[in-house]
């Protein structure tokens, strides 16, 4: 499966990745230049945290080999895709219990702030043929995609 690898030292906190994520998941048409950064509907799926020493910690979803989020899901909305290995979310199945939010040890899942009836999580830009938009947008090459071994399920 493909995973976003993080070179923490290279991140200078520019948040181009966050804008790219917001732009990729916005529901309205338009370009990144007219993206409303204050609209909670456009929230990014990852976080860039300052480390207090002038550096930054990029926290992106790992699409874990043993995903605690999907293990906590009582509706079947979260599922590790048997082909790509990515954890995908089916909004229609979701029972909005938010146990996944509690169970991701890295804090990578959040309830949608506006509707409170779905979650926001990284979908690896599943609808884009190229690599995820965050990766494409990073000017420092602090994140890149690598193939990792993962055993497919049933």
């Amino acid at each position: 499966m493909k995973r976003i690898f993080i070179d923490q030292e290279k991140c200078d906190g520019c948040k181009n990745c966050s804008f790219a994520c917001m732009q990729a998941h916005r529901q309205t048409p338009g370009t990144v230049y007219d993206l409303d950064l204050l609209d909670p509907k456009n929230e990014a799926r990852h976080s860039i945290v300052t480390n207090g020493k002038g550096g930054y910690v990029p926290v992106f979803c790992r699409h874990c080999a043993v995903p605690d989020c999907a293990g906590a899901c009582m509706s079947g909305a979260l599922k590790k895709d048997p082909e790509t290995g990515h954890i995908q979310y089916d909004e229609k199945r979701c029972g909005t219990c938010f146990m996944c939010v509690m169970s991701c040890p890295y804090g990578n899942i959040k309830p949608d702030r506006v509707s409170r009836t779905k979650i926001l999580k990284c979908d690896f830009c599943v609808n884009d043929k190229e690599e995820p938009n965050c990766v494409k947008s990073c000017p420092k090459k602090a994140i890149h995609v690598e193939e990792v071994v993962w055993e497919a399920a049933v």
């Binding site: 480390n51 009582m74 509706s75 029972g95 509690m102 049933v154």
Partner: protein
């Protein structure tokens, strides 16, 4: 090898999936009282009419159609013979296996009070037939009494409000959601329900019922003498592991099945997972136990060590809460509280280690608290306010790109 799994809840299904992944040549026989696979956490959505039974199915892959899986549904196991690893419904032998996983879950407790156990209009809320019974009875009911204001009781209340019923909720504890939240966080939910017209009687017990002489309860009597008229009663006062059929099987039970670190019972080759294993009934743990039992049934020794289960999330009317660990402090604990119009946050610290957290309002990205609390990780020495601590403070990556915790 043939593996027999009794029960199609979180533990049984995850075990079946894991076995067929680990040992594609092995076969799995699922035996269940349930005729359908459904998520118990969503039964209230059937009552409210939001979803049909198919909409409660949590199996999201082709597991049940797997060529090496046979599902015998609608059979209630009444006896287990450990020596031959066989299960029976009455005199009929249903199935046998080289290993057995008992994942029969739990049944709701019915208090031995008045006609609660026998009345036609009194229901628990645990199985799909319960939810169907409530939905059907609700068609002709105007006033409903719910006994118990825990998550299940309030789920039932939420659904019955959707149907426009007049509700009275009776709870022994002085607050709603007493197992999950402190009094302050619980009061926020109580108010939301009261705003919809629900009447609560807290710190009260039901001591008797009145009936119409034809098997229907018409009122419940409280310990202060008051009478609450009703056309239907929903009991949500807890569950008991479904282990009655193990009597005489030789499998050691206490309140639940006694298992070792590998989730194996006193009888070799017979395992238990989920509510019947007696740890705690939260979904993520039941699912994980099913997985671990499955590995052990396949011969890969896995220890079940992630037993921490004092955790839950609550969502009613869009007000979200997350609660992990202690909800109230012990002597000497430090309690930090932050509150604004939309949020209530309470953190209990002991020697710099988080013992419990309640977040109400915004809970996004807060999953790291569970890891910090269950692993007793110190957070007061990270050079910042404990409210600013997150996984980023313990950040590290492995060669395969997965994260690790660096202290």
């Amino acid at each position: 090898m043939k593996h027999l799994i009794i029960g199609v809840g979180a533990a049984g299904i995850s075990a079946a999936r894991t076995i067929l992944k680990e040992k594609p040549e092995d076969s799995v026989v699922l035996v269940s009282q349930d005729e359908e696979v459904y998520s118990r956490c969503m039964l209230h959505k059937l009552i409210s009419g939001e979803r049909d039974a198919a909409g409660l199915n949590f199996v999201n892959d082709g597991l049940l159609e797997h060529k090496n899986l046979e599902w015998i549904k609608g059979k209630t196991v009444t006896r287990l013979e450990a020596a031959t690893k066989s299960v029976y419904a009455g005199d009929e032998k249903i199935a046998s296996g080289d290993t057995i996983l008992i994942a029969t879950g739990a049944n709701s407790v019915t208090p031995p009070i008045g006609e609660l156990r026998t009345a036609k209009n009194a229901f628990g809320l645990r199985h799909l037939p319960d939810a169907r019974g409530i939905a059907s009875c609700a068609k002709n009911a105007k006033e409903v009494v719910i006994i118990g204001a825990g998550l299940v009781g309030l789920d039932a209340a939420y659904a019955l409000l959707e149907l426009g019923k007049k509700l009275t909720i009776i709870e022994m504890a002085p607050t709603v959601l007493a197992i999950n939240l402190d009094a302050h966080a619980a009061a926020a939910y109580q108010k939301l329900f009261e705003d919809k017209g629900v009447v609560f009687h807290l710190a009260r017990k039901v001591v008797n019922t009145r009936g119409d002489g034809r098997g229907n309860i018409t009122a419940v009597e409280l310990d202060n003498g008051s009478l609450i008229p009703c056309d239907m009663v929903v009991m949500a006062v807890g569950v008991r592991p479904a282990i009655g059929f193990l009597e005489g099987s030789g499998i050691k039970t206490e309140r639940a099945i006694v298992v070792d670190d590998y989730l194996e019972s006193s009888e070799p080759g017979i395992y238990a997972a989920g509510d019947v294993a007696g740890f705690s009934g939260v979904w993520p743990n039941a699912q994980k136990q099913g997985e671990i039992a499955a590995y052990n049934m396949c011969g890969t020794k896995w220890i079940y060590d992630d037993r921490f289960a004092i955790k839950n999330t609550v969502n009613f009317f869009g007000l979200l809460s997350l609660s992990v660990g202690a909800i109230n402090p012990a002597d000497g604990d430090e309690v930090l509280v932050k509150e604004d119009r939309l949020n209530y946050r309470k953190l209990i610290l002991r020697g710099g280690v988080p013992m419990g957290i309640i977040l109400q309002g915004e809970i996004g990205g807060s999953g790291f608290w569970l890891h910090l609390i269950k692993n007793k990780m110190r957070i007061d020495n990270r050079g910042k306010s404990v409210w600013k601590v997150s996984y980023a403070d313990f950040y590290g990556t492995q060669q395969n790109g997965e994260y690790k915790w660096v202290v």
